[in-house]
Symmetry: D2
Subunit: 218 residues, 4 copies
């Protein structure tokens, strides 16, 4: 049986909760598919700490031996499920991480490539989410904080592991978070969980991404 690894962060930036962790924990142990396509989900929490988060991810890859990894992170203020296109090799933190570090313009992997593209079928995932009535879009930037850090670290680790797909999905605030941040959008936990299910299934099923425009003029 194939294993799928989903990760979500611990709460950060003074939030009592992290929608990413709430979402992936709900899918821990989920089994789907049949026969050769059978899969099982392992969900784990990552610290919101530069360095430590990637060390934890590396250990998880060794332990879990997944065929697919989707890291999930909170993007407070975004309105929909955003499937990230690219991770860049820089930490430039607008706020402190949970270990009180605030890295500025530091490479994630010194000497590493400037960027890695997601190996998820990002267009197919967005199309499947929308077809299911879930707001979703491709994002051209995962930022420069711990989310991008883990996304880059994951893709760097997977560069050596043929056949393992990986990527990152940002999700909005939960309603109870947005209730404390007037003006911010939100999405229900049930929809986030449903969205992640679809992202997993689509990523396992679609070998070659669909070719539809999902870029930005700027």
């Amino acid at each position: 049986m194939k294993t799928v690894l989903l990760t979500g962060f611990e709460p950060f930036n003074k939030e009592p909760i992290n929608p990413a962790w709430e979402t992936v924990r709900a899918l821990d142990g989920w089994q789907g598919g049949a026969g050769d396509e059978a899969f099982r989900v392992v969900a784990r929490q990552l610290p919101c700490v530069f360095g430590a988060a990637n060390a934890a991810m590396s250990a998880l890859l060794d332990e879990v031996r997944p065929v697919l990894v989707i890291a999930v992170g909170q993007a407070g203020g975004r309105v929909d499920l955003t499937v990230e296109r690219v991770a860049i090799n820089v930490d430039d933190a607008p706020i402190k991480d949970n270990a009180e570090q605030q890295l500025v313009d530091a490479p994630i992997v010194p000497g590493g490539p400037a960027a890695y593209f997601s190996t998820l079928p990002i267009k197919a995932v967005v199309a499947a989410l929308r077809a299911a009535g879930l707001p979703a879009s491709v994002s051209q930037t995962a930022g420069t904080f711990v989310c991008n850090h883990v996304f880059y670290g994951l893709m760097h680790a997977l560069a050596d592991r043929a056949g393992v797909r990986g990527g990152f999905i940002h999700i909005p605030y939960l309603p109870e978070q947005a209730a404390r941040h007037p003006g911010m959008a939100s999405m229900s936990l049930a929809q986030m969980i449903e969205g992640l299910r679809i992202a997993v299934q689509t990523s396992l099923a679609v070998s070659r991404d669909t070719s539809v425009a999902a870029g930005a003029t700027h």
Copy 2:
């Protein structure tokens, strides 16, 4: 038993569905409270048509004899449940209504007051919604389309009916709508329904609104 009237519009602006109608229809027949506080909800659909919508509202007030009326409308692009503060006496339509009318700078009630304030306890409703984990805020404008038209028409009609409270709540797109409008926020139907329940209960329970700032500098 007290009667509460909730109204929602038919779909407009090429949408196949209107979250306002979906929300209030789910509450039709809902009964709550006990003893003197017992209430029953009647939910009705209004046409998204200048004039006809207010004629329908007037007929409903006579038929239903409510003690409380909350009109609900779709505000595509807003991120939360917005409790409207004020209705103004002007129709200025950026799009056509469902009867292909596009009124410009026409008074809703010729000779009527320039505006009416909501008689709902708007601050208490917002506080109760947030306390329940639902994103909500006070809005300083209901626009100048059919929503404001009905809000104004309702408050004008209630000016003659002592003791009947009324107001207007705008709600975001449903997720399935936002899935077709990338970049737009959404809220789940379940949360909108829960929000309306809270708005009804709070409006029945709170006689004098709480005094907390919820204004805008501009």
Copy 3:
């Protein structure tokens, strides 16, 4: 010779400068028109203080005897010159005014009308601004802070003065302010001044506003 009164506020909310005052002071003494249409501009500063601002406005109306009054205020975050449609009879301050007052849900004029509409030709002003290459739009809310307070107070005072037109225009941050508020839009002082010139000339020249849609669905 006709007199036009322009007012701008002193700085507030910790800003060292107020674009509204910078703009109108640049037009103090400006003379235009010819023959019966000749006019002269008087520009005055108002305190950003509930009550005191309207007292100052009243005194100015007696002193200056204008045929036209345009009050101007800063709307940090707005992207263009916004010609306000309506003033509402409520103070609900999200921040303190310059006298440390934070009024909540207080009527501006107890017993006064719920609102007053601008008597400027707001559609014609917006059209003239755009024709001159200046970003502009009609706004459906002037907020509930001192700007709306002065707008309402002005229109209440003018209700007794036949033939005197009045209204309110909100303007964006100046570039040097936006340079300290990342993510906020701005407009150059030269363009704000040019915009106010056009607003004055159009308001003097156009007796009956043009009928073009400039409303909002919500």
Copy 4:
């Protein structure tokens, strides 16, 4: 004397004008500095066409032999001068280019690195712009259209040219454009020109970028 190359695009997306070209053409022939620091600016227009734009850029590098290249592009909707951090190796066009091409998920340089970072001192440039009262920020994405295409192509070409710095700056709509796009921010041409002057001078003067946070959580 050192040569600085500035490029701006021809108009695209049905606009009659492109602020990038208007800005850089105004600086063509500008000379500054003294002695060893003397420089002269050459400004050239690029077609808004995938492929052709980069061919033109390559030819310009050979012809002009610059020590510094800043490509400038229109970012309609952005509020400030945005100094781009990174170019990614993908074309994914949301609209057609001026040759009616709409590339989807095509590499700009097949086999090329996934991304290149700007070699401008981007933090120092933003700081200098703000110090001059001009709204500016670091941007984490240049999009996936012709702007990013040229930015990537430029950095790929400069990878072989030791000592030549390059980068990309996005600029807002001009006011006359925003006047036709209600809701969009703008900046005056004079300020864009002043901003580019500062970007050139700072890029020539600052060898090592300042270390200040300018990242994004997402």
